[in-house]
Symmetry: C2
Subunit: 390 residues, 2 copies
């Protein structure tokens, strides 16, 4: 296992009756709030009104940036940062899912940068300061509510890149499972796969010697939590227990704890970001299709034992299978879970993806010619995985 | 499950080569350091010298409070607070185990109180401010390195009470498993039982409906981590993997995560504190003896299912047993683990405890006439548990 540094400062209010603390938490940071949200679902579920009333009752002044895209764009970030500069915004409040929160993080940093946010995302300029960020979460998926990273898309260059800095860590996040009751079956499925993929990216699939045993065990329980509750939440959207377990699982999948003792290797995320960047598909659906094909592609005698362990510990299958048999069974069961139980379509072509950009996408996924992970991948490996997934 | 608030701000440096970050982390908080430690074991393992050199190399001025007791006394806290006031200390650095850290927390708060620290411990006066606290941990046990509570003893009044305040949360803690290689088999055993007891206190033993499923599952994996690695660390004191897993398990057993969704009920801790308060025994050993007797005492048809679940999920025993059979088996296995595998003596009388103070101790454990927990206990219940444990 590796030496590591762990810190996560975000304060979480979890549960049904917590929103009344929002104003009191924000107030010490200032009175001029930029409320950031997406396509308006927060209005449909009445959350917009509740948040506005809460802020108003505490004497806070609210400005708005609406219409954040599912894959948030750098142009929207720039728009938000301009509002912050012009209106002397003190605090950003993101109400929505991972896209809204990611966009808000980039706005928070760009507020203090005299230029295009894309310079910060590409690392051309450093993050030097950021506005304090608060979030009210509406979907269990990205974990952005409890981490310091975000992903921003540039549709002009077909790039989708991460912006990660400790300054972007939310101060306080409000996690009310009832705010996820209206999340569609499709988005619940996609969010659940995103959670699972974050755990895989925390190096669940890696040699045992590179990890801490306790963390490996805990990972399996978070995976099992998602495997148990995602189908329930899809069938019974208003099941509080299912929504609560998924919500808390999402936060813990990527808040640093499950990465302690290892070096994270977000292989499938890096590959999927290229698909989203070129075709603007739903991230979790892209992951659902690519992950099992990635597993198949890297399956050999060195990777088989961990895949088999996944099968035995998560899906409770017979431990007496050989490593290769167990690994094949694991991949089959994972496919069955995402494509049958969660009901997601199984081919990239189902999402409008074609093979025209595979070579360019594969190259972009490997900025240094190689992509780290359980098995190191070259652009030609990634192109092969794209083709298998088409 | 209950609504909850979760936050844990402590930054952790974990691993073999991290102490070089100590000075740089402390420096922003000031230059005058009070180094607090216990009986001198940190000198035997060379840690004292390493810490002093690190602080010196960063230009920091070091004052010392040595000799913190295993059950730290309020008089020692007062002594430390006096040094802080007189020497204008900026930062407290605790190097040691839970007792040293707990004592340091109380010193940090008493620095800003014009009176006896016992007023803060008993709640007669509030904690209003605290010096920043840093820790270098030398035993896996209390979790004090990553929480905001401490326990202080008053030998004049035979009281052992908790002082809990967010201001007491360590800023940064250094967890190097090699610093625990020299921990004796006996203290390793006692520390391990303390970790387990913290998880039980986070309401692992409670009705399912009061909990979040994911947390219950994670609890079991942390329990299994301790059950697996404590015997290895006892047999092979220099086994890094065992020491590292125990160390990280200790921090997570009581840092708030495993308590999310429930209300903590530190039943056995409250009962044991009375034994330590009257007889100054090792806390973890007291817990080891009291816990299985508490289990036996509260065993009935309502509590049996969760005890059986513990048996099945932690000790991998046959799920086909009846609840009561499974629960009895669980208690037998837990006893076997602490008294045979870990080698701890099984009677309070082995530790010099007699029955003279049982009534007084039982009353003190229930300040309001009742002690919360899986089963609510009255003073006469607690006295019965003491007698069973004698």
């Amino acid at each position: 296992m590796k030496d590591f540094v762990f810190q996560n400062t975000t304060k979480i209010y979890f549960g049904k009756n917590q929103l009344g603390h929002l104003g009191e938490e924000i107030k010490p940071y200032g009175s001029r709030i930029l409320l950031v949200y997406g396509g308006g679902s927060i209005k449909r579920i009445g959350l917009y009104e509740k948040v506005r009333n809460e802020l108003k009752s505490k004497g806070l002044t609210v400005f708005e940036l609406a219409g954040v895209e599912p894959n948030p764009r750098h142009t929207t970030v720039n728009k938000g940062a301009d509002i912050c500069k012009k209106e002397k915004i003190d605090v950003i409040l993101a109400v929505g899912g991972g896209s809204t929160i990611d966009c808000s993080k980039a706005i928070a940093a760009t507020r203090y940068y005299d230029g295009d946010c894309w310079d910060l995302v590409t690392g051309k300029a450093p993050v030097t300061q950021a506005l304090p960020l608060f979030t009210v979460l509406t979907i269990a998926a990205t974990g952005s509510e409890m981490d310091c990273g975000g992903v921003i898309s540039n549709v002009e260059t077909n790039e989708k890149l991460g912006l990660v800095d400790p300054l972007l860590q939310p101060k306080v996040s409000f996690l009310d499972p009832t705010n996820t009751f209206s999340v569609s079956a499709y988005q619940t499925a996609c969010g659940s796969v995103d959670i699972l993929s974050h755990i895989f990216d925390c190096f669940y699939f890696a040699d045992d010697e590179g990890k801490m045993d306790m963390i490996d065990r805990v990972m399996e329980e978070v995976i099992k939590t998602v495997v148990k509750y995602a189908p329930i939440a899809i069938k019974e959207p208003g099941n509080y227990e299912a929504r609560a377990n998924l919500m808390w699982a999402a936060s813990w999948a990527l808040n640093g704890f499950l990465g302690t003792g290892t070096v994270m290797a977000p292989t499938c995320h890096m590959i999927e970001h290229e698909v989203s960047a070129f075709y603007d598909i739903t991230h979790g659906h892209g992951l659902a299709i690519l992950t099992p094909h990635w597993m198949e592609y890297i399956l050999d005698e060195t990777t088989a034992p961990q895949f088999k362990k996944f099968d035995v510990n998560v899906f409770n299958v017979d431990a007496s299978l050989s490593d290769i048999e167990g690994a094949r069974e694991a991949i089959a069961r994972f496919k069955d879970f995402v494509f049958n139980t969660l009901g997601l379509k199984s081919r990239l072509s189902d999402l409008g993806v074609d093979d025209k950009n595979f070579a360019a996408m594969a190259n972009k996924a490997c900025p240094n010619g190689i992509l780290a992970g359980y098995k190191k991948l070259t652009p030609s490996d990634i192109e092969a995985i794209f083709k298998m997934s088409l």
